[in-house]
Symmetry: C2
Subunit: 260 residues, 2 copies
Amino acid sequence: MKHCLWALLMVLAAQTAEARIVTKTVEYQQGGTTLEGYLAYSDTVKGKRPGILVVHEWTGVGPYVKHRAEQLAAMGYVAFAADIYGKGVRPATPELAAKEAAKYRGPDRTLIRARAQAGLDQLARFPQTDPKRLAAIGYCFGGTAVLELARSGADVLGTVSFHGGLDTPNPADASRIRGKVLALAGADDPIVPPPQVAAFQQEMRNAKVDWQMNLYGGAVHSFTNPDAGNDPSKGVAYNAKADRRSWEAMKAFFAEIFGK
Amino acid sequence: MKHCLWALLMVLAAQTAEARIVTKTVEYQQGGTTLEGYLAYSDTVKGKRPGILVVHEWTGVGPYVKHRAEQLAAMGYVAFAADIYGKGVRPATPELAAKEAAKYRGPDRTLIRARAQAGLDQLARFPQTDPKRLAAIGYCFGGTAVLELARSGADVLGTVSFHGGLDTPNPADASRIRGKVLALAGADDPIVPPPQVAAFQQEMRNAKVDWQMNLYGGAVHSFTNPDAGNDPSKGVAYNAKADRRSWEAMKAFFAEIFGK
């Protein structure tokens, strides 16, 4: 109940001023590449507050992930939608997105980790952010990114993957995970099939991570994204129930890791 | 957030009067057998309210399940800890409990369903209960019981299994399930092993049930029961985190099924 109360107070603090969400495009660097992320916070919340890194789907930083950042800002967090791909790299078709994502999701995960870490560092630098209270969430490609960030030993209290790819070439790196992990998955997601789910669970188990996984019946890939259509037989579709439930699960997780 | 607010109001209504939880031992019948359950509700809540059936572990109705009923009463529900075994049948050792439970968990699930249904009928008869808003939860053996109740086509809005046995001789009966299903499982529970979890998921999938499953890393059987000890290597142990998280998940589920 305390979690609930805390969340309620956060929302009450923020909701009277929904128009007071400040958003800003932010340029930053990683390895000589210019990245362009999206910051959102409420200017009615006083003082430093927990910071949430948000990592985009394979299409890059766009309206969907910006909206998520704004929702988090309305809840009282500082949210930063990080850019993994680089400024201006916003693939417009699934084919281009697949090609771009493949550069990061291959057997070498060094770059995706470095880009996610650069986003986290940028988030920690904002004056509104309490750098001791950070978490990372990601969608699809972004779920993979935040899990790799966790496996790199990043200083986050928690990591949440929404229908993210759970595979990794480096399962032993799970021993470096410092925070808690919550994986939210569609039980019928063909892109995150049972063997991948089982391997992830075994990885977490072997490394004694504090992990949880919620499976949503009937949900397929991209279940949180209203733009994913409504035909689950395609393997990619929006699922309003799973969207709402997974968001509630994330909120309960944040209430636990950030305290009341 | 509305879920949260609703839950908060329920608790605020109930918590000012924690001493006002009314409890009562209740005798009722099924098939000529006298059963003895345990009713709990708050007399500070006005009018009819949702009713929660609570089904015991293999030891039968005892302090643990009574405490859960009282917790639910403090949240504003009418809770009824049903008796599957019969009045006075309270096995005192694991050997006796295993023997008693086996009478109900075999290939014929008729009796466990009938006993659970008798508890649900009794719950619906209490003047405090809104008989249109019922749910059932169960622990271990009780998880199996409430899932069988659901498979029998019982009129419940939701069913929650805490580390319950998920197997059934009648998977096709899942098509009769009328409410939503939430299975809360220890990811390392040797008594509910991966093949059983997979079969349950497939059962739910085939029947197009509205189902969810939360897996808690590091948790083994009986993870919600403080009397289960603290040595997970035994396959049965309390896990405070998984206990708290699963209870929160149940609360969110109730908020969804009972409305705000």
